[in-house]
């Protein structure tokens, strides 16, 4: 089925709850949508839930690239893994991925007043996690990684807002000078306990056990802000 036909059918449907079976790569599903619950069985195409504006999307399968691009509100739950640029430029809403996400997860995320986007990944992610992050929460739980660092290279490059939580025995070795990290305290963990609870409610797992693990929290260094990298301004 052509993605245009599928998306027209979704928009034209009078139903609140919509199920898409045998999905094979159709792009732009749920883009900008509000007021619907969409369940997708299969492999949705790129830019799933881009600009999402309040709808809830559940994927039984893996998502491809650029899921939740610039989403504003609502939630996406992926019972599987997601591709590169997951949650790219999110400005609100929640994304939960049961297993892994690709490169560039959460890049350019931003927050404003009550709009605080959250991206929770159960397993591990590729390089450039949270590059240029400006707000919101990115949480990588490292489930199944047994304490190994659940991220690849260049975490938080250019980060200037928000927080990244990594469940790991060690902090990334190559963090830029403009960010700081410390082992998460009980108060730090309290900030994400609701997100971990929601992850476990959706995918299973023991919230207390996950939260009892060692976490590192990464955040911008306000005394050494990210600025004037290219030009004085």
């Amino acid at each position: 089925m052509d993605f245009r036909d599928l998306n027209r059918a979704v928009c034209a449907s009078p139903d609140t709850d919509i199920t898409i079976d045998e999905c094979y790569g159709q792009r732009f599903i749920g883009d900008g949508l509000s007021g619907r619950n969409i369940t997708i069985n299969g492999t949705p195409g790129n830019a799933l839930g881009a600009y999402l504006n309040g709808a809830v999307i559940r994927v039984n399968g893996n998502a491809q690239d650029a899921m939740g691009d610039t989403m504003n509100d609502g939630a996406i739950y992926v019972h599987g893994s997601s591709g590169d640029a997951t949650g790219y430029a999110m400005r609100g809403g929640k994304i939960f991925v049961e297993r892994n996400a690709g490169y560039r997860a959460g890049i350019h995320m931003k927050a404003y007043k009550d709009k605080v986007p959250t991206l929770v990944i159960g397993g591990r992610v590729g390089s450039f996690l949270g590059e240029y992050q400006a707000g919101g929460y990115i949480v990588v739980l490292g489930i199944g990684e047994e304490g190994r660092l659940p991220v690849s290279n260049f975490v938080a490059t250019g980060m200037h807002g928000g927080k990244i939580f990594l469940r790991s025995d060690t902090a990334p070795a190559d963090l830029p000078n403009s960010v700081m990290t410390h082992e998460a305290t009980a108060a730090d963990k309290a900030e994400i306990s609701g997100l971990v609870a929601e992850y476990c409610a959706e995918f299973g797992g023991d919230k207390d056990e996950i939260l009892s693990g060692k976490f590192f929290v990464i955040y911008p260094d306000v005394a050494n802000p990210y600025k004037e990298l290219f030009v004085a301004n």
């Binding site: 993605f3 792009r27 490169y103």
Partner: protein, 365 residues
């Protein structure tokens, strides 16, 4: 009249897909067409093509030349040249099926050849180098003739059009091979033309490429120093020649070649333990002109194997699926699921991490 490569800039995408049977099982061309057609919207109809391995068992000891001609004069000149340098054991038009979406069709011929022993001996070259030089001579010195496939027991089929249409046009359901790669083109910078469609092939190496390499000119100058002529003004051609140079001429392993063209950053190399650090430092220093920057995901087909590789920043998507002895690679997972819904595993390799599939020991193809 469509202007050729390099004259016009068009913005862009692309799709690649590959199927490989480690046991050498023969796969019909229909599967790869089904896979690539799911990614239809990644292409724009300006180029599609396939490489298939193991398709010419009856002529497996002969080089299979696939040639485009724009006119009969080019064909005559090329056949004169072939006659002087090769014994031609079979020649024919490549069977096609007229297709409403495939137009401006050139003459498309196939020759099974082997170098004339006297010519080969007189050249003092090894056989592959002799064949490669003959292909370059045709492509650079005979106007309107273009050899686009020159390996043994393999062939490239390409055209201007959407890949699924190109597959029907070439009647790929009539071919069976243990390895297929495929490309749907959405040309970056340049318009599509028959010669500019992927795969690009040199002897048994073929490349399909999604991306746009920003180091093209540095790479072109490098390979030109080693006798390669970039005649097509397109980046993928340079990748093909770099790999031919590194693997066939320099004797690097495929992994070493991948570590050279998609080398890690110096900062990443600095963190690695010895001897890995020394090895990667050597490759970057020795073959600095072969570093390929900019986005790419490529599939390299070769005799008995297939390699998938992303650029070091992983600026293009690529996933790998496995089921039993079958391996699948595609720009999008959906393109694999549509031909094998029930995979044993599926994953995305890291940027610069080559994934190589080869025939099992003793596999008959």
């Amino acid at each position: 009249m469509l202007e050729k490569e390099g004259k016009v800039r068009i913005p862009a995408g692309c799709a690649i897909s590959g199927i490989f049977s480690k046991s050498g099982k023969k796969i019909n061309g229909e599967s790869i067409i089904k896979s690539i057609s799911i990614m239809h919207d990644r292409s724009n109809g300006l180029g599609g093509g396939f490489a298939a391995y193991g398709i010419y068992p009856q002529y497996k000891d002969y080089y299979a030349f696939h040639v485009f001609y724009n006119n009969d004069a080019a064909k005559e000149s090329c056949e004169d040249f072939l006659d002087k340098h090769f014994d031609i054991v079979n020649l024919s038009r490549i069977p096609i099926r007229p297709h409403k979406n495939i137009t401006d069709v050139p003459l498309i011929w196939r020759y099974f050849v082997t170098p004339r022993p006297t010519r080969l001996a007189a050249s003092q070259l090894d056989e592959k180098e002799f064949v490669a030089r003959c292909v370059f001579r045709i492509n650079t010195q005979i106007d309107d003739a273009y050899v686009f496939s020159s390996g043994k027991d393999m062939g490239v089929f390409k055209a201007v059009g959407f890949p699924e249409d190109v597959g029907e046009f070439y009647r790929l359901e009539e071919y069976e091979g243990y390895c297929w790669t495929c490309h749907g083109r959405y040309p970056t910078n340049t318009p599509g033309w028959w010669g500019g469609a992927h795969p690009f092939a040199m002897l048994d190496y073929s490349i399909v490429h999604n991306g746009e390499i920003s180091s093209y000119d540095a790479n072109r100058r490098t390979v030109e120093m080693y006798g390669y002529s970039c005649t097509l003004l397109t980046d993928t051609e340079a990748i093909t020649y770099i790999l031919d140079y590194l693997v066939r001429k320099q004797g690097l392993t495929l992994t070493e070649a991948a570590n050279t063209i998609a080398a890690p950053f110096w900062s990443t190399i600095a963190k690695l333990p010895e001897p890995e650090r020394e090895r990667l430092t050597f490759l970057r220093n020795k073959y600095s002109g072969c570093l390929i920057t900019g986005p790419f995901s490529i599939l390299l087909g070769f005799e008995g194997g297939m390699m998938a590789l992303n650029d070091r920043l992983k600026l293009r998507s690529m996933v790998i699926g496995e089921k039993g002895d079958m391996a699948y690679v595609a720009s999008e997972e959906s393109a694999i699921r549509v031909i094998e819904p029930d995979l044993d595993k599926i994953w995305a390799p890291r940027g610069g991490e080559p994934v190589i599939f080869t025939l099992n020991d003793g596999a008959q193809v």
